[in-house]
């Protein structure tokens, strides 16, 4: 870890030496480990230390962004020189207004030092315990157990100085026999929440000895577990919950604010400070996170902003800036769906003939304006008949509009779960979506996975 004072010293020196009109320096450091297992044994076990410095300089309205992981003085001098040079050889971006100015950042704890107890030996023991539980049932286990310490420091020439350290751990598990599989996962900032027994039980409950049935594609009532729901919410976040998509005319929210677009039971929001999720107090521009409500009782309400999109509209950033240059837009990363009043059991009991889905796999966008996506079911798909889980099913392909599905929500669970994809490509910054289970009266399946 770089530590706060050392990080600030390095970044401030860079800012002071910059001849640009505005300068921003972001430091993201990582010390992490991942233990991967398959067929009930560990086959990969890795550890990483890395740091990324991202420098954004502005001269007039010309902006360049450079990043490096070389923090020696000579390299930093070089990166600054290059950044200034690159601003001088480009045309200005007239939409740019300013980097953000400082705002008070709430003090919250996002680092639990107990994460350091997850040494290779300790992790191997925990994984072995998990594997033994699964093996005793005669099943096989595959998965990954990852833990990390991350620091984020943001300094800019307008006075922003923000630092936060984060701990995280993520474990996901697939348990299988020759016929079927089940899934579970846990993401948390604190190792205190790690309970390998319950993680194993959750996945094992989905494994069946019965031969999976094949049903015809078509439209069915479905009960979606939180893992599946979080996938849908993430796509809504990418496609339309942010200002860049609206400003470019490609969000499903365009010209529809104030309109009822989904069922009135549905409220979806982003809140980086909500302790039920993976808290993040400020964004990658050093702006404190604000709660943003996308759907409020079914009505399209508002979107997330960073300093660039906010500047275009004369508004304030909502604290959703991602690492520069953020050409994807201020995509929300702390999504929540409001809980309902049903239990999972009640939802299943209310289905005459339908499908129970644990999670989706390889989902992708088909038609962005209608939020039509396609994907497969995976790791725990069941036929529901007369209110009971009757039999496992062969995995199905769905092709459905998320908006249509959310318009047909007939029940939402009281309980919610924090779901995550864990580690992402390139930089480590684990985020989570807090989702309930939902029942949808009519969800379209377009194929079956079968040779």
């Amino acid at each position: 870890m770089i530590q706060r004072d050392c990080g600030f010293h390095l970044l401030k020196e860079l800012i002071q030496n910059s001849s640009a009109d505005q300068t921003e320096a972001v430091l993201l450091s990582e010390s992490s480990s991942l233990t991967r297992f398959a067929k009930s044994s560990i086959h990969q076990h890795v550890a990483e230390k890395n740091v990324t410095l991202t420098l954004r300089v502005v001269k007039g309205k010309r902006i360049s962004v450079l990043s490096t992981n070389r923090l020696d003085k000579a390299s930093l001098k070089e990166i600054l020189k290059k950044a200034i040079f690159l601003t001088e050889v480009q045309q200005p971006n007239e939409d740019f207004v300013s980097l953000p100015t400082p705002k008070p950042i709430p003090s919250i704890n996002t680092f639990y030092k107990e994460v350091r107890f997850l040494t290779p030996t300790r992790k191997v023991k925990l994984v072995k315990d998990l594997l033994n539980i699964v093996r005793e049932k005669g099943y096989r286990a595959s998965g990954a157990f990852s833990n990390g310490e991350v620091e984020l420091a943001v300094v800019n020439s307008l006075g922003i100085e923000a630092y936060q350290s984060f701990s995280d751990l993520f474990i996901h598990l697939i348990v299988e026999n020759e016929k079927s599989s089940g899934y579970s996962s846990l993401v948390s900032r604190s190792p205190d929440r790690l309970d390998v027994e319950s993680i194993a039980q959750e996945a094992m409950e989905k494994v069946s000895e019965k031969e999976p049935l094949q049903i015809e594609p078509g439209e069915y009532e479905v009960v979606l577990e939180p893992y599946a729901v979080s996938d849908l919410l993430s796509f809504l976040g990418d496609l339309g919950f942010h200002a860049l998509a609206v400003q470019e005319g490609r969000s499903f929210f365009c010209n529809r604010f104030g309109e009822k677009m989904v069922d009135k039971k549905v409220t979806i929001y982003d809140d980086g400070l909500d302790p039920e999720g993976l808290q993040i107090p400020f964004d990658f521009e050093g702006t404190p996170k604000k709660r943003v409500v996308f759907f409020e009782r079914g009505i399209a309400k508002e979107v997330t902003h960073d300093s660039f999109t906010a500047g275009r509209e004369g508004k304030e950033s909502t604290g959703h800036g991602l690492i520069a240059p953020n050409t994807s837009g201020p995509i929300p990363i702390n999504l929540f769906m409001e809980a309902g009043e049903s239990s999972l059991k009640e939802m299943i009991q209310s289905v005459k003939k339908g499908i129970y889905i644990t999670r989706f796999h390889y989902t992708n966008v088909v038609e962005p304006m209608a939020a039509v996506i396609t994907g497969m079911t995976r790791d725990g798909t069941f036929l529901i008949e007369e209110g009971e889980l009757k039999a496992p099913l062969k995995n199905l392909r769905f092709t459905e509009s998320i908006l249509r599905a959310l318009s047909r929500v007939s029940a939402i669970s009281k309980e919610r779960k924090v779901c995550s994809e864990g580690t992402i490509y390139s930089r480590r910054f684990v985020t989570g979506t807090v989702a309930p289970a939902i029942k949808v009266d009519g969800f379209r399946f377009s194929g079956v996975s079968s040779l």
């Binding site: 076990h45 890795v46 990483e48 990043s67 971006n93 390889y362 497969m376």
Partner: protein, 482 residues
């Protein structure tokens, strides 16, 4: 650097590990993105570090760091060794790691113009010229141009005595036009969607793409798509252009033939494969005209290199011959399952990731037809071009793709444009329905710069050489409007 590396290997031998390797990697990436006449981003990334892989007490350990100095290298080695020893308490079967003859060699991507030596002015000018042409079309609301340049300099050294230095250069560019009207959003791209086409070549590759020559066409097609009729839903004949077929190959051949996936080590992320090693030599993967090779040597292929990240030389390997599956992508640890030597496909995304079995260039060998002849021979069907979406299940069986544009074929003639074309299928049934492949004149290399795999996630540059091909009895028009 050599001393630092030698110290590490000496330490490894002192500790009597079964095997160790060290990779020191320096990468430079530069990306330029224009949108609607404005420079959206001009970024330059540099990344430097090393990773050490150790095989000890029957298990692997890997550790890495961005601090490249003697003390840190020794600490990282000890960390990797500690990880291996800890992991050995939960290991599976014996690891059979094939011995390799030491290689001392160098490889450099042959290029004419180093893209990093080309001035920013020249690059932006090239992009702006093409993007400005797109913008002239009033229905186009988002005009984009992208250029990326990538250089990787790496050293691989192992306790077997290998010392291999490589410099891999790649670059690519592309343009896109997004037309928006009345809640309809349609995109056309050139030369390919998702940023363009990429190759292990110098700036001469980007100049040769001719972005400006295609700008007006794609803007016009994006506009056309706003008012086009939707792709119907039916079972019919499709001809896939080479850019879309490249992704079809990637998802439904390239990934399922990765032997680590087949053996189950990717279960926890992207899944496994419907293929088993027993299928080699007998499984009819595709029709008799389907021949596929994995070729890490082809000039300019995005998946081309000199040696993989286990020190195995780049190779050309037949995978499917006359439709029969005959080989898989292997590594030094997995190849023994087939009774063969590794065919050199272990590749790591930088210094901070372990190597995994990855595609190199997975190529469909050209056939006999011209594209025009194929269309003329098709009584009824659709020509589909340029990928827009993709999805496949965890065993690589059921897939669904969407393309940017389609054209109806009636009586051997291209007709109306259709919008939002999608098609779906079952992998071996689909490939067995292939009854025509275009010839060498239509064959070209496509670079996929964003192939994802592994945990922690890794991105690989892979390539696909392919010509358009025809497939019968395919379900099209899967998406239903809400």
């Amino acid at each position: 650097m050599k001393n630092l590396i030698q110290n590490t290997l000496d330490l490894a031998k002192l500790k009597k590990v079964d095997y160790a390797d060290i990779r020191v990697v320096r990468r430079q990436n530069e990306e330029i993105k224009l949108k609607n006449g404005k420079l959206e981003a001009f970024t330059h990334d540099e990344d430097f570090g090393f990773g050490i892989r150790v095989l000890a007490q029957g298990a692997w350990g890997f550790a890495c760091s961005f601090r490249v100095n003697k003390r840190e290298v020794e600490a990282v080695f000890r960390r990797a060794l500690g990880i291996a020893k800890a992991s050995s308490k939960a290991r599976g079967g014996e690891i059979i790691f094939q011995k390799g003859a030491p290689k001392i060699d160098q490889y450099k991507t042959p290029i004419l113009i180093d893209p990093f030596q080309v001035s920013p002015d020249e690059k932006m000018s090239l992009l702006l010229h093409a993007e400005e042409i797109i913008r002239r079309n009033q229905k186009v609301k988002i005009s984009e141009a992208f250029m990326g340049s990538y250089k990787t300099v790496k050293i691989f050294a192992s306790t077997e005595g290998s010392y291999i230095e490589q410099e891999i250069v790649a670059c690519g560019a592309g343009i896109s036009a997004t037309a928006i009207e009345g809640g309809e959003v349609q995109v056309r791209s050139y030369p390919n969607s998702f940023r363009g086409n990429f190759a292990t070549k110098g700036y001469e590759w980007i100049k040769g793409l001719g972005l400006s020559d295609h700008a007006e066409r794609i803007a016009s097609e994006a506009e056309q798509l706003l008012f086009a009729k939707p792709c119907p839903s039916k079972v019919t004949t499709i001809i896939l252009d080479s850019s879309q077929l490249a992704l079809q190959i990637h998802e439904s051949i390239g990934h399922p033939i990765e032997l680590d996936r087949i053996l189950g080590t990717e279960t926890s992320y992207a899944g496994t494969s419907f293929i088993t090693p027993k299928m080699l030599g007998s499984f009819q993967y595709g029709s008799e005209i389907v021949n596929v090779t994995a070729d890490a040597t082809v000039l300019g292929g995005l998946g081309t290199f000199g040696y993989d990240d286990e020190g195995v030389p780049a190779q050309k390997v037949p995978i499917i011959s006359n439709g029969i599956l005959i080989n898989l992508l292997t590594s030094r640890e997995t190849a023994h399952h087939l009774g063969k030597e590794s065919n050199g496909t272990m590749r790591a995304d930088g210094w901070n990731r372990i190597p995994l079995i990855r595609m190199t260039n997975i190529n469909l060998e050209p056939g006999e037809w011209t594209l025009e002849g194929m269309i003329a021979d098709t009584e009824e069907g659709f020509l589909l071009s340029t990928n827009r979406s993709w999805s496949i299940d965890d065993k690589r069986i059921n897939f669904q793709f969407g393309t940017e544009i389609g054209w109806e074929i009636k009586g051997g003639t291209l007709g109306e444009v259709v919008k939002n074309p999608t098609y779906t299928g079952i992998t071996p049934m689909f490939w067995n329905s292939c009854d025509a492949i275009a010839n060498q004149d239509h064959w070209m290399m496509w670079g996929t710069p964003n192939c994802g795999k592994g945990e922690p996630g890794q991105i690989a540059h892979v390539g696909h050489g392919v010509a358009p091909a025809r497939f019968r009895n395919v379900q099209i028009g899967v998406a239903k409007n809400p």
